[in-house]
Chain length 503, copies 2
């Protein structure tokens, strides 16, 4: 091992420990911590952020990283860690320590404030905090912007390298052009799919039983994982032997069911990261988009596939005998794939999903680039839903307050959801050529599919970018065409459009 | 504020943040973390310990503390914090950093190993780790011993200042002399108290409902608190707005019921600490003994008092209608106060409790001062139970593995349980003179009692020692006589001994 790297290693370990502690507090904050703890715990989290910040921005750390960058003899993993460290420096050293700390404390407060505001349908109580969050995010982006770079481009780059507003305007443009008329066509058919049985008296304990069964069935390992309840489902990982997913339970059984499979997909990604990468700067998924590709792959391409349900639908019927005994497999599969413009992103069907993301993308652009006022958000949100999806939220909880992201300062994150879906469709198109995908699902053998994803994606952590992974796996650079084709094929068949109608 | 103190403050805040993060990991480890996480998470905890250690042992920190010690103008709280910091330095600077860190990592592992060994009734799997723990504890005590000081005295001093082996030999001697014959007398009476109804089909959800009700009833504030499940009940606090208690549920309803009231007592102590003390080195209970005095005060002096149950026994009957509808209040109160030599300390009646502690005290003395081999523990433990209590454990889970303490390296802690009971009895004797204690309980008004304890004990945190608190509150130095009198009065009445028989 190089001397500089040897000196760098304990500093990196310390930085990672502070990060991990912060993550545990965030987890705890959203799943268990008592109401009144907020401001006190925020102080602790602030100190941990501060400590992390000081390591990364310390001149000794920086000169060690610079020396390591010049070294020729570093192993692949070491070189990747040094590269990430250099990027972290780049990202953090431009932000003054006190501001970084104050922001971290604010976020710990703001997620609680958001949860309360959502519960109380009270946007006004949350608006002042959101304003502060946005101001910090713009300020930080300004610090980090390379000459002439737009602020929202800086934010987008944090989550997905190489996908700026220009690229995303094109990406969403293509989706809009192809999918909006296609959706219109489907809706005009007025083909009625009955999904009324999905809503009803589904007891929470039973839903939890189903959640655990299906998380395990798709491969989430409970020896290394935890399932809990939170206002908004999420996944967090302390390391590759402690990955945690949450869900929420409502009277709609498919909501928790597919959100758990979604989070399990995130979890399986983190659990699949190599042991020599975990607890280092490269021991996480390659990017937000790649992460979403995996969660949505599990949720949709696997989980909403008719073949998936063939061997396990009876299990679901066993858990909910009264509710599902008279519902046939085919009926169930159609119901969970029903296209219906709705208000809640996390409950959207695959087809309308990208429109939910498009709305957020457009609003974020306005908030960051056009100084849209936070107070106008609820109305603008509602107007856009009416325009794109033909429906209008009745309150802010099912409108602008539905997602946690903005309360965490994650501006530029949403586009990754749509990109992830597109990544996944491209992988699926390729995998189908190399394995009997549906056949495996019918046999109840998900391990071959999961292992394939682990081998080509999960194990690498951040050793490669999402674009590299996609290209090496599928032999092709990123293209949205497979996504569009996948959606048209799937929903065309479901809604009985003929090939010529489908164009 | 003095300049030195001003410079010290951020260092103290940092140290406290690392401690708090460690505490959260410990909590998480024992209540939720997945099985396989252990060794990975231990690394993180090790780093946090290390960071704490480095602050305290840093020469800059030490010289600031020394300067502050000389300052005349410090406020009372500041001076107390400086005093605690000086003691922390004294305690830690003698231990080499690597050993302190290695020990912290070991403890994170060993509590898991203990829990598994207890579950599997397998002492052999735990013995090698326990040996290591003891070796560390002896080594650390050796580092910290003042000239000629015995190692076990060093350990005892950690938990209760001014209570060394000499004092404790006398304390336990007096208890033994008075209580062992008294217990014999009671047992000879063979007065049969029926408590069979306490064991049975008490569903876990219902027990949890009762646990929450009674924790709240005695004053545990769920806006600032959490109740969870763990192998061994415990209380932990992040600060005075986040205090967490755990319990375990078995087929014995009084086990979880009184363990929850016990932990709530600990919790109420921590919740009552003043806002200006929390998140500082004096923001905890005064000592282990003072803490136990409060938990056992709530559990026994309040919770097992016939007057306590008068207004709320019907509530318990409501929760368990089938199990308790035909059990009268008087019968219930007798049953939960039944004297019966048993194997499990946490389930012991008040009278035999001190014998459980005595056994642990004697064994610890032998382990630390006489190099008793760990391998001999299960037999020695069983022999002593046979000798003192007339019963012999059938396996290590109900024997030497029943308590978590040794797996955490807490040697010298157990005596505090007996001291705490004696502190509590002394307080009780005094309080009865100044308020209508039983009358308040009968009215269901615990707040006046709780407020009295908060005013005279809880609020001060570590501003005063346990001995000072006791003396200022009761006007008398510590004496075990009230404890002995309390037990003789209570159980003499319950078992119908006449005054002359009671001596």
């Amino acid at each position: 091992m190089s001397k500089s790297y040897e000196a760098l290693k304990p500093l990196l370990e310390k930085a990672m420990a502070y990060q991990t502690a912060k993550i545990l507090f965030e987890w705890d904050n959203e799943t268990l911590a008592p109401e009144a703890a907020g401001p006190y715990t925020s102080k602790v989290v602030g100190t941990l952020s501060d400590s992390y910040f000081h390591i990364i921005t310390d001149p000794e750390f920086q000169s060690l990283v610079n020396e390591c960058k010049k070294e020729k003899g570093l192993a692949e993993v070491e070189a990747a860690i040094v590269r990430e460290a250099a990027e972290e420096i780049e990202e953090l050293e431009k932000v003054p320590a006190e501001e970084y700390r104050a922001f971290s404390e604010l976020v710990s407060e703001s997620t609680r404030s958001w949860a309360k505001a959502k519960k109380d349908q009270d946007f006004e109580s949350f608006a002042p905090i959101l304003k502060k969050i946005i101001d910090y995010q713009k300020k930080f982006a300004k610090y980090r912007a390379k000459d002439g770079q737009k602020l929202y481009d800086v934010m987008l780059d944090t989550y997905e390298k190489g996908f700026d507003m220009e690229t995303l305007d094109r990406f969403f443009g293509e989706l809009k052009e192809e999918l909006v008329p296609f959706l219109k066509e489907l809706m005009d058919r007025k083909k009625d799919i009955d999904d009324s049985f999905l809503t009803g008296d589904y007891p929470e304990e039973k839903q939890e039983q189903a959640a655990r069964f299906f998380a395990e069935y798709v491969g989430f390992d409970f020896d290394k994982g935890v399932l809990a309840v939170s206002a908004h489902p999420f996944t967090t990982n302390l390391h590759n032997h402690d990955v945690r997913i949450t869900t929420h339970y409502s009277d709609r059984v498919d909501s928790s069911l597919f959100s758990v499979i979604h989070e399990a997909g995130h979890g399986i990604y983190e659990l699949g990261i190599r042991d020599d990468l975990t607890q280092t700067l490269v021991g996480q998924g390659a990017s937000m988009g790649m992460h979403e590709s995996q969660s949505r792959f599990f949720e949709n391409i696997i989980g909403r596939n008719p073949a998936f349900w063939e061997p396990v639908y009876t299990k679901l019927q066993e858990i909910f005998p009264e509710q599902l005994k008279s519902v046939m497999l085919e009926q169930f599969v159609k119901a969970v794939n029903k296209v219906e413009p709705g208000l809640i992103r996390t409950e959207a069907d695959e087809l309308t999903y990208s429109l939910h993301v498009l709305i957020r993308y457009e609003i974020e652009k306005q908030l960051i680039e056009e100084d849209l006022s936070v107070d106008e958000l609820p109305k603008l949100w509602a107007d856009k839903y009416e325009e794109y999806l033909g429906i209008r939220p009745e309150n802010v909880s099912e409108g602008v307050l539905q997602d946690i992201h903005w309360s965490q300062g994650s501006f530029g994150y949403f586009p990754s959801y749509a990109l992830g879906s597109a990544f996944g469709a491209q992988m699926y198109a390729f995998m189908k050529k190399h394995m009997d995908f549906d056949g495996l699902l019918k046999k109840g053998d998900i391990s071959a599919i999961r292992e394939y994803l682990r081998e080509h994606i999960h194990q690498y952590g951040k050793l490669k970018t999402s674009r590299e992974i996609l290209k090496e796996m599928t032999g092709e650079d990123f293209t949205p065409k497979y996504y569009i084709q996948y959606l048209k094929d799937k929903y065309g068949a479901l809604y009985g459009l003929t090939g010529s109608e489908r164009r």
